[in-house]
Symmetry: C2
Subunit: 253 residues, 2 copies
């Protein structure tokens, strides 16, 4: 079903009290970023988040706390916490007396989500372009190359989905606004299942599609340090993908 919970990569080292070394001296203890307390529940949350964004959990798919717990090799408790968090973000929903499942978006909900993404991610792209460094542009370019490679014959949907995500977030992170990243992550969490499930099922869209063009325009705008153009490229990327979804994907109601 799902991958077993791994030790995972350290998401963030706790600043923590640097072991009281003698004043003035730089102890080696200050270097070790005091092992983070990453709780089990957080790890499960991260696991489920990744699966949702990658579109590996289809809309409407039902989850069982006990099944997930067993699949991940943990007790039911951490899974409850993870599902509780994701349900608060409406990335999952718990039916009254039934089970917990991946939400099925209505057309109206999907359109609203897209409009919000245009505003928020457009803003992020604009701000990022103002302050992005050459090194960061290189990272974005690297992800674009990976995306292109994954889109060619033979197409590798999973890799393309990952590269696309990395490309976008590499750009957004350049803006240096953590809360904004967090907000965009939530949007992707909600849109991920449809967007990427589709991309997974129709890898053909990748090659020669609008995404490739939009990404190229985005990179060009970045290199010119043209915020408005970067925003425009991103808007086209999101819009084109959304239009395709509206035509092909099955949306509720």
């Amino acid at each position: 079903m799902v991958a077993r919970v791994q030790p995972s990569v350290a998401p963030q080292s706790r600043p923590a009290s640097p072991g009281a070394g003698k004043p003035g001296e730089v102890s080696a203890l200050d270097e070790v970023g005091s092992l983070q307390h990453e709780t089990l529940g957080e790890r499960v949350t991260g696991e489920l988040r990744a699966l949702l964004i990658a579109g590996r959990l289809a809309p409407g798919e039902k989850l069982s706390l006990r099944r997930v717990a067993e699949a991940l090799g943990v007790s039911m408790m951490p899974v409850r916490e993870a599902v509780s968090r994701l349900a608060a973000d409406k990335a999952l929903e718990v039916l009254p007396g039934r089970a917990v499942r991946v939400p099925v978006l209505t057309l109206a909900q999907f359109r609203e989500l897209t409009r919000i993404r245009l505003v928020v991610e457009g803003f992020a792209a604009e701000e990022a372009t103002k302050v992005i460094t050459d090194a960061q542009i290189a990272v974005v370019a690297r992800h674009e190359a990976a995306f292109l490679a994954a889109a060619k014959d033979p197409p590798d949907p999973a890799a393309a989905v990952g590269a696309n995500r990395d490309l976008h977030f590499a750009l957004y992170e350049a803006a240096g606004m953590p809360s904004l990243i967090e907000m965009i992550s939530r949007l992707w969490l909600k849109a991920g299942p449809i967007l990427n499930l589709d991309m997974r099922h129709e890898p053909r869209r990748l090659d020669g599609g609008s995404a490739v063009v939009a990404h190229a325009q985005l990179l060009a705008a970045l290199r010119r340090r043209d915020p408005a153009a970067a925003r425009q490229a991103l808007v086209e990327d999101i819009s084109a993908a959304a239009e395709h979804i509206e035509r092909t994907a099955r949306l509720a109601e």
Copy 2:
């Protein structure tokens, strides 16, 4: 400490199936809109959310699961779920081995939050102005009147905070975008403790302050159906409040 969890609005037990009506007839059962399952954890979440937005929990204040549970008259379990959700939204934070507390924003974090609010709430105001009805404008006006009344001598900080919140959300809800409301709520959840704790401590800011002017301009723009002006009025409202906070409130680092 906090208000006890009340039975809330009657979750109303099913009105005892009034004998299945004959087929073909429109049964009274079709009328009852399947009663919501409001769980205990959700109620606690709502309680804490209200406390946070109202600024009744100060930044840095520590909470104890057991204490909150006892104060609300429930077991520790629902509180864990509520804290877990709010922590996922970063409306609360759990220190590694210590306790859970209301986050203390740094100046940089507060500024980022404000910038995001300008974008998101500005967008909401603009969209709302395009589709708002006269009745909805009247509701906004009513909340503005309540705000004015609460700001006058003698000032009633708690009422003013509530009226200000109701005014803003009445506007945003007119946009008819549920996910956007949810997003703005999260922003208020994070900014609420500083914003409203301040307003509570300095009620003088209310009277003759910039908020009154901004609200008047907002209402005028709504009546003219002028989206750009509405956005501008809101931007000034948020900016003025933020500037005041930056000058007076104690922010970390």
